[in-house]
């Protein structure tokens, strides 16, 4: 134990659960969902028929391109453009819905009787190899306005994560925070750690924060109010935002993207009663609903999106609350691509998992819900990956007008493609600008207008994601945190740049 300031290593005073409990909890964390509903577990990427269909399609496309190039190219282009048109119209309808009646809970809670009945709240904080942000954790979560005796805050640290443990030893850990050491095992993912924490959670409601998160103080109370107003809601998602939004152009783009996603898109989905892909943190869940759904999928690298769909399939609703959690936006392009490719990989994986039994999916969610899963989860990485390709084709087509290219596009395909290229791209920039206006953060306007350049990065990440899903489906590409040195607020721990 290295020497610290006051109560060094105080967290060690509280013993870890008995070894037998730990082993049982670890088994549950890894195997609960896989054993109970293997068809919903991401431990396998493709089931047999999916592999067969994909291989068949790839084979047919290859043979087609070799033997009947023009027709195959036309069919492929037509299919992609059709997907674009549907996704575009669908997103437009979600945004319109959101503008009309965004389903966001804003009611502040000060009624004494509700305050008297506040439930116990479990907060899970999984960390892995991030000693530099551990110091910020206490100041960030300590600001939450909730009775300390009703808080069950659990810091989840991997047993063999010596650097983080060493950082913890130097820290004065407050009483309301207990530290659980997660036994070292594969898969080494955030959802597995969370599942482990879930086994020891005592709260009625539960939420997850990252170590560097700064939730708005009213968030837990707002969530309680939302849950008591709507008994059929299993989960409410808080708005994610960034405190280093002004750091550079990348963080501005990222912020603008989040403004759109959390202010428009998720509220619109919630209002339409469609499955909501949850954000990585600040999702507030009824713990019994979470356990009923089987917890998180430890093999899925976007367990949050997956959980949102699983909750919807069990008939629960997901809402959105108007409270922000400030995170650190990725300010480094390489790091950003790593993080984004993990998300895209997870989205694709999630969609593949849920489309294993299409008829069951339709039975659970209805045609619209199932279509929504395809368009919000499956199509997002696919469209991001082919965006550049379609742009390039458009440019070549307009400027070069290659001989015979026109014949590849029969009139309906051509008009739909033109519609996407002209209207789609502009509409996205426009809606992003609208998010900037509504949030009154005008300094982001230039980021909104230059947004198409951000798509280049997205495309790189999406292509990487597809590649990685093939090779390392459950590999958790860690995002480096603590890159904000000197921005907004000086971190409590030592920051590495």
């Amino acid at each position: 134990v290295t020497g610290g300031e006051q109560t060094t290593g105080a967290w060690r005073a509280r013993p870890q659960p008995p070894e037998s409990d730990r082993a049982a909890a670890l088994d549950a964390a890894v195997g609960r969902l896989r054993d109970a509903s293997p068809e919903l577990s991401a431990s396998v990427v493709l089931v047999r028929w999916q592999a067969a269909v994909l291989a068949g399609l790839a084979f047919a496309a290859t043979v087609g391109l070799l033997l009947a190039t023009a027709i195959t190219a036309t069919v492929l282009a037509g299919g992609l453009i059709a997907l674009y048109v549907v996704a575009l119209v669908d997103r437009g309808s979600v945004v319109a819905r959101s503008l009309g009646q965004g389903r966001v809970h804003t009611a502040p809670i000060d009624e004494p009787e509700l305050a008297a009945r506040l439930p116990t709240y479990t907060i899970l904080v999984p960390v892995y190899d991030e000693p530099e942000v551990i110091g910020r954790l206490v100041s960030g979560l300590g600001a939450l306005d909730y009775p300390p005796e009703l808080l069950d805050a659990i810091l989840l640290v991997e047993e063999d994560d010596q650097r983080t443990i060493a950082a913890l030893d130097r820290l004065a850990v407050p009483d309301w925070l207990r530290v659980l050491l997660v036994p070292a095992s594969e898969p080494r993912t955030k959802p597995k750690a969370c599942n482990y924490g879930l086994e020891f959670a005592v709260g009625e409601l539960l939420t997850i924060y990252d170590a560097e998160d700064r939730p708005e103080p009213n968030q837990l109370r707002l969530a309680v109010a939302a849950f008591s107003a709507e008994p059929e809601t299993a989960c409410v998602q808080a708005r994610l935002d960034f405190y280093n939004d002004r750091q550079n152009l990348l963080t501005r783009w990222f912020t603008v993207e989040y403004l759109f996603w959390f202010q428009f898109f998720l509220p619109g989905l919630a209002a339409a009663g469609r499955p909501v892909p949850l954000g990585g943190t600040s999702q507030h869940i009824r713990i019994d609903a979470l356990r009923d759904a089987g917890g998180w999928d430890p093999f899925n690298v976007t367990e949050d999106a997956d959980l949102g769909i699983r909750l919807a399939r069990r008939g629960w609703r997901v809402g959105v609350i108007d409270s922000a959690t400030y995170e650190e936006a990725n300010s480094d392009p390489i790091n950003w691509v790593r993080q984004r490719s993990r998300w895209y990989k997870g989205y694709l994986h999630t969609w593949l998992v849920h489309s294993r039994a299409p008829r069951q999916l339709v039975r659970d969610l209805g045609w619209r819900g199932a279509g929504s899963v395809l368009l919000t989860i499956g199509a997002t990485p696919v469209l991001a990956a082919i965006n550049q390709l379609t742009w390039m084709c458009t440019l070549v087509f307009v400027l070069g007008a290659p001989h015979g290219a026109a014949r590849l596009f029969p009139a309906p395909v051509f008009y739909a493609g033109t519609f996407c290229a002209l209207f789609g791209n502009t509409a996205v920039v426009y809606v992003v600008l609208l998010s900037v206006r509504i949030s009154r953060r005008y300094y982001l306007a230039t980021a909104a207008l230059s947004y198409p350049a951000y798509w280049l990065l997205m495309a790189v990440a999406a292509i990487k994601a597809v590649w990685q899903l093939w090779l390392r489906p459950s590999f958790w590409e860690k995002t480096a945190h603590g890159l904000t040195a000197g921005v907004a607020e000086p971190p409590a721990g030592e920051a590495t740049a």
Binding site: P231, E232, D364, A411, T426, L433, L434, Y442, A445, L449
Partner: protein, 559 residues
């Protein structure tokens, strides 16, 4: 899979979704009023058409739509880039009914349906605008009614032109902008912007309305400034971006497609079919002083009290700081002012129809007088009434309302009007071509400056080669080799100078090109409807023209 608890809860969740609190009457009454009004306009339009009162531009749009669907080279770009494309696009499904309902094309019926629906929608927008300003029923009905029954508005509601859709879209944009001035919700600004974007697809003057709206947004934000200037400027810039975004998109798309397909980004201004060329060719560019007198006369006939109204409305507007009404004037007033100025300066024709926004400016704009109670209502009613009487008288004048007088004649007397568009001779030509023994494989080469009238009367539009055909350049260069057997020509005077055949084969009309034979002449009532059909006997080229006698002179006169 679904647990019992989960399922039960899920169903409960679905039950909690409530239907919109809108009564049946709230839907049925407006719908019925809309159908009735559009039906009235449509019937009047049918009456016009039956009496031969058909405007060339309206018919030309219908013919464009026909070329898209039934032409020799059916493709969407045949919609043309001279007029705003939206009315033509909306006419497509109606023109598709040409088989069972030939009048949809031959009498311009598709245009009439289009304009009467838009006119009814415009009246509805005016009514809603008034209601949303908390105006009492009497005020709202007067404001909307003053628009609905004004003779100028009725004529353009019923004749298939783009005036009524444009007024409708301007009113919709103004209504959203007014709502924005009250609620400051960005979504209202977005809606206003979208309407302006739609407006550009009807008439390019939407740009002016956009400029007016931008000034309004800047002004309102500056006056109601709630934060530091730096921040407020950011807000204004973003607001302006949201407002102009759709307009810019419309502009860019239309100009881009126009450039890509015709090689000219600004065809509505520059091409030989655009206004500038027509003005130059027809030589009707008047002296500004005369124009000013003409415009002033028209203006004071539409709104005899204009001299009092303008200062009155402006005074009340400023005194009351009525921002919602200011939004209305920013959108429609800017367009009105622009039309008056450009007509006076002689940069466009002095057409009464360009002043149509004056009608809603008087009747809906009169809502500014609401604080004056019954006196205001009486003043507005008087203004509307005198305006209607003035309009009625003005419309009968060939001098002040040359385009509208035929319609007025029909309305007043019920007599057929003289064939101003030359449809009689066009029908003659179309019938003659169809009766020729060469059959479907013989193509007719024409230009659409005048040729659209013949195209509107033919049952075989696919036998005509028109400028929007993608191989027009090839065909006009080697017509005989391309299967053309007839050349449809017009006299090379006035707008006829712009005719593609006259330009490519100078002297064609006079019969100065070898290997051609004058096969048919259709002399209409007026000069522009004089057609000559030349039969091609063999390959022709501009170089094979005869150069003797009168042909030499004919060639020298040509540009």
């Amino acid at each position: 899979m679904t647990s019992a608890v989960g399922a039960a809860v899920g169903r409960a969740g679905r039950r909690t979704r409530v239907a919109r609190p809108r009564s049946v009457t709230g839907l049925v009454v407006p719908a019925a009023a809309f159908v009735a009004l559009a039906g009235c306009y449509g019937l009047i339009g049918a009456d016009f058409a039956a009496h031969g009162a058909i405007v060339g531009d309206a018919l030309s749009r219908v013919v464009d739509a026909q070329s898209v669907l039934f032409g020799r080279d059916p493709h969407l770009a045949a919609i043309g880039f001279v007029f705003g494309p939206l009315p033509t696009l909306l006419e497509l499904p109606l023109v598709a009914l040409r088989g069972p309902l030939p009048a949809m094309v031959t009498a311009g019926g598709a245009g009439i349906v289009m304009s009467s629906c838009f006119a009814a929608a415009a009246v509805w927008q005016a009514y809603r605008f008034a209601r949303e300003r908390d105006a009492e029923l009497a005020w709202s009905l007067l404001a909307a009614g003053g628009l609905a029954v004004n003779p100028l508005f009725v004529i353009y509601a019923a004749n298939g032109m783009s005036e009524s859709p444009f007024v409708c879209v301007l009113l919709a944009a103004a209504r959203r902008l007014a709502r924005w001035s009250e609620q400051r919700r960005a979504s209202e600004l977005v809606a206003a912007g979208c309407w302006l974007g739609v407006g550009y697809l009807i008439r390019y003057e939407a740009v002016i309305a956009g400029a007016g709206a931008v000034v309004f947004v800047g002004l309102l934000s500056s006056v109601r400034r709630s934060s530091a200037w730096r921040r407020e400027l950011g807000a204004i810039a973003t607001d302006v971006g949201l407002l102009l975004g759709p307009l810019l998109l419309s502009f860019a798309v239309f100009a881009g497609l126009s450039w890509w397909l015709t090689g000219d980004a600004m065809a509505q201004f520059n091409s030989e079919y655009g206004n500038a060329a027509i003005i130059a060719a027809s030589g009707t560019l008047s002296v500004p002083a005369t124009n000013a007198a003409l415009v002033t006369h028209q203006l004071f006939a539409l709104a005899p009290a204009a001299g009092v109204l303008v200062p009155l409305y402006a005074g009340v507007l400023l005194g009351r700081r009525d921002w919602a009404m200011a939004a209305f004037f920013a959108v429609l007033g800017s367009v009105g002012s622009f039309e008056i100025l450009s007509m006076t300066a002689g940069t466009t024709f002095v057409f009464l129809r360009y002043l149509i926004v004056v009608v809603p400016l008087v009747s809906v704009g009169g809502l500014v007088l609401r604080p004056w109670g019954r006196l205001g209502l009486a003043i507005l009613a008087a203004c509307i009434l005198t305006g209607m009487l003035g309009t009625w008288r003005l419309l009968a004048s060939d001098h002040y309302a040359p385009q509208e007088a035929p319609f007025m004649e029909t309305l007043r007397t019920g007599d057929p009007v003289p064939d101003a568009s030359g449809l009689t001779s066009a029908r003659e030509v179309a019938d003659w071509l169809e009766s020729q023994p060469l059959g479907p494989r013989a193509l007719t080469l024409t230009d659409s400056v005048f040729g659209f009238t013949v195209l509107s009367q033919t049952t075989h539009p696919d036998r005509f080669v028109i400028p929007s055909d993608r191989d027009y350049d090839v065909v006009i260069d080697r017509p005989y080799q391309s299967g053309v057997r007839y050349l449809l020509t017009v006299p090379p005077v006035g707008r006829g100078l712009l005719d593609a055949i006259n330009r490519y084969y100078p002297g064609m009309f006079a019969g100065c090109v070898t290997n051609t034979r004058l096969a048919m002449v259709a002399d209409g009532d007026g000069n522009p409807s004089q057609w000559r059909v030349y039969e091609l006997l063999g390959p022709i080229s501009p170089a094979t023209a005869r150069r003797v006698g009168p042909c030499r002179e004919a060639r020298d006169r040509l540009p």
